[in-house]
Symmetry: C2
Subunit: 151 residues, 2 copies
DNA sequence: TTGCTTATTCGCATGATTTGCAGATTAGGT
DNA sequence: ACCTAATCTGCAAATCATGCGAATAAGCAA
């Protein structure tokens, strides 16, 4: 996703208005690597702007997605998660704490050759399920991230 | 998933009862490659057994899943789909008609090496999005599968 | 076959996530 | 300061899935 400043510029050039709600969400999403759900963003946003509506959060998130400024991912039927990282990447989901890490994969084209030759793929997504470093680590069970598992 | 006969045997050996509802679902799922949703199975089941409850369909599907006899997959936040194919495989989703095809991938281990080395993956799933043969085919636009897209 | 015990089924309520709608509000230009 | 269209907000409603309790029926024993 582009920077809040660039987004403001884009919204302006398209005749869209720059509201404080939008600006807040722009900043909350910028370089956010947590793959938050709409609810999570709403909670964070509410702390800084009491009274902001969950509906507005959904609306803005949908707008950004339709503008191609934001990505969406879902895992195992949970709530939709938003991803400002628009580069070609994949995900590693920790089944213990629910953390989601971005993963870059090289030579992915090497596997696509084994797909059925009567299917024309336009995109490929890979999801690893497993245990993240924090949850594997035997020592320092303190400061673990809270369990964000949805299911 | 095992055959209806084998499932009956397993249920019996575990003290579970063999009801007509369960038997019907066993047969509807056996070698079913359509990745149906609970609703779809309910519709099909209702045709053969009017009065069967959607709740029972969900219940049986959940039971089979917990017994490890059935797999579940979800794509893009849509409804959960059930997959009796328990072999190691992946999926190709047609964005046109919504059809989902099973895909086997060789040398998948070749890509897993590029994952972050602080993550211990226990499973990897790959999803191809694109256009299936039927929808690519310029001729015979007749007999196309109905659009099953959820989102 | 009859009856008993307990698993199942069924329908409804409830929960979670997301979208539709309409009136109140406000950004941005005149 | 004023206008107008874009936004925000709250609430209803849609979708998907699960919890719960009462009614039902499978499997077993006599």
């Amino acid at each position: 996703m582009r920077s809040p400043e660039q987004l403001v510029e884009r919204f302006r050039s398209e005749g869209l208005k720059i509201t404080p709600q939008r600006q807040l969400l722009f900043s909350l999403l910028h370089e956010n690597a947590e793959h938050p759900t709409a609810e999570a963003l709403f909670t964070t946003a509410s702390a800084q702007m009491p009274g902001i509506s969950l509906r507005t959060v959904y609306q803005t998130l949908t707008d950004l997605t339709e503008m191609g400024e934001l990505g969406q991912v879902t895992f195992d039927g949970g709530a939709v998660r938003f991803d400002p990282n628009l580069t070609d990447h994949h995900h590693a989901v920790c089944d213990q704490c629910g953390a989601i890490a971005d993963v870059s994969i090289d030579h992915l084209d090497a596997v696509s050759i084994s797909k059925p030759n009567d299917f024309s793929p336009s995109s490929t997504s890979v999801v690893f399920h497993g245990t993240c470093a924090r949850c594997t680590m035997p020592t320092s069970n303190l400061d673990k991230p809270t369990n964000n598992q949805t299911k």
